[in-house]
């Protein structure tokens, strides 16, 4: 589903190489986790895949279902099925959460040549899915993420994921700032979305999120490269021994 080959990325504004040849394949139906120390390039990878400005791809490629995504605008990637659950969901005063989600859903549908969702249909679906994420009507009415707690923001991300039904879900440190109960709730929402035609790329520092979202494959990223790939046991090893041993053996 997602094919990344030899991806090299530097910051646009300064001469600093962040990704130094990332190779990664995420198959449909699978959950891949990326772990790694601070500054290893995990978040950069998520931004580059979703099309955030400020980065320059100097080499390599990335495609989703055979389609090159690196030349697409962020909105085109979204319509093609890329979804990034933000580490820090952005507050947008003045834009209602509901208006935002309906605009997004219908913009994607329009871009794909599908029929737009009517207000009534949208309302029905969003209420249903919001209930599962324990998001009340009040939160739907409020401006996007404004006045939301850390947990509410992350739940709102998962609600958007559910509404947009993407093909590739990239989750950037979704566990940061969450207590155990909130993490369970988020994990439940993510697990409900697991399906044979959807891939997940879960970026995290810690094993604990992976207790709730069971990965199929775990990658360790360091200094802009994936240095080790293994099964779920790799995450446990990190939890127990830290990154130092793994990085040493790959040095």
């Amino acid at each position: 589903m997602l094919e990344i080959k030899n991806l090299h990325v530097k910051l646009e504004e300064e001469d600093k190489q962040i990704l130094k040849g990332v190779d990664l394949t995420v198959e449909a139906g699978k959950v891949h986790a990326i772990m790694g120390p601070n500054g290893s390039g995990k978040s950069t990878l998520s931004y580059v895949l979703s099309g955030r400005g400020g980065y320059e791809v100097t080499d390599g490629e990335a495609s989703l279902l055979g389609e090159d995504i690196l030349d697409m605008d962020p909105e085109e990637r979204a319509a093609a099925g890329v979804f990034l659950a933000f580490q820090y969901p952005v507050e947008i005063p003045g834009v209602g959460n509901m208006t935002f989600m309906r605009t997004a859903v219908n913009a994607q549908r329009k871009a794909r040549g599908e029929e737009e969702m009517s207000s009534a249909e949208f309302l029905k679906v969003v209420r249903e899915k919001a209930k599962e994420m324990q998001i009340d009507a009040e939160m739907l009415k409020r401006p996007v993420n404004v006045g939301f707690s850390g947990g509410e923001k992350k739940r709102n991300e998962i609600l958007q994921m559910a509404m947009l039904a993407p093909k590739l879900c990239i989750m950037d440190e979704t566990d940061s700032g969450l207590d155990v109960d909130a993490m369970k709730l988020v994990a439940k929402g993510v697990n409900a979305l697991r399906s044979p035609d959807r891939g997940f790329l879960v970026i995290t520092h810690y094993q604990r999120l992976l207790d709730h979202i069971q990965p199929d494959v775990v990658h360790i990223m360091s200094d802009g490269r994936i240095v080790k790939t293994g099964g779920p046991e790799l995450a446990l090893e990190v939890e127990k021994n830290g990154y130092t041993d793994i990085l040493k053996e790959n040095a």
């Binding site: 400005g53 935002f100 997004a104 401006p143 947009l164």
Partner: protein, 432 residues
Amino acid sequence: MALPQAKQDATDARLAALDLPVQGGWTRAARADALSRLTSMGLPGNRDEYWRFTRPGDLNAVQPATAEPMDESDEAPLYADIDALKLVFRDGVFDAEASDALEMEGIEIARLAEVQEADIHWARDLYGQLEARGQDPVDRPFAALNTAFATDGILIRATGKAAKPISIVYVHERADSDPILHHAVKVEAGAEVTLLEGGAVGARFNTALEADVADTGKLHHVRAQGRNRQRVANTHTFARLGAEAVFKSFTLTLNGALTRNEHIVELKGDDAVAHVAGAAIGDGKVAPMHHDDTVFVTHDAVNCESRQVFKKVLKNGALGVFQGKILVKPQAQKTDGYQISQSLLLDEDSQFLAKPELEIYADDVACSHGSTTGAIDEDMLFYLRARGVPERRATDLLVLAFLAETLAEIEDDGIAESLRQRLENWLDRHAD
């Protein structure tokens, strides 16, 4: 004191081209006084303190520059869903046929041009009076010119709660029209009325509204200016509030080669509330866009509240000006004054100039003010785009969100929605 020669010449030339509309009637004294105020202060010059950001040349000119009227049939009429008493002016000339009858329960309505020859009228105590008060401490020559030379206007006296809003509809048809209109509203104690204004008044125009809101009276004023982008406009809103009176004024401005909207508000009775707000959006691509909000709020009583909320969205070299002042007199204790002016610049060619001023002589007051200038927030834009919202639409959503705070100042949701729709239409028309 003699005027500088350039001022004297400009004033003489302008006055020579104007005729006092009437020589008799109850407005005669007010017009004569205004004319003498004008001749002693002269028309503004580029170096006058309150005209440094907005050059007065196009307003001073003897003849207006031509401004083509615009076809507005591509959108629904303003306030289409609002049941209102409609009064239509075409290039400043009243259109009786297109207007409703001047009658409503609890309200006296008359036209200045129709009643000004009478010996006596209730508006005699108002016409030109607030304008004259508003000349101190800042000269407002065009307001004096308005009082002296206004050819028509609506005189409203509310003695009860108006059954529906009064809507003044302006239609611009001639490329060289130069109307001067003067409205006066007297809201008696406990009375309440909503005044709507909408449309393009003329090629160049000078309008004044004097609003005297007595104790516990309420006046809601909502105005939409546009779409004739070549227009040159100077408007003045003078308000005086009695005890527990409420005055709320909102203006939406779309484009405009030159628009200067002045608000002069005086809180004279304790516990009065005055809110003035404005949203302006301009694209300098086809014609220049220059928008100026000049506000002066005077607190002269105890425990009054004032709010100034002005926001501008500017693109393609559009220029915005905000000059807002709060003056708190020594006896105006417990004043709650607030002022915010913000601009959203959509490119590097656009500009916003702000001059907030506070002058406080009382010691137990809360006054806050702020002014910001910024671009579209890149993080917000990316968040929206990452969810699939195309860049254009995402920018529009952020523009509407930015202006939403000003629209929230309008009490009536239906009226606010009507203006929000105008903004959406504007954004659609200026997509590139």
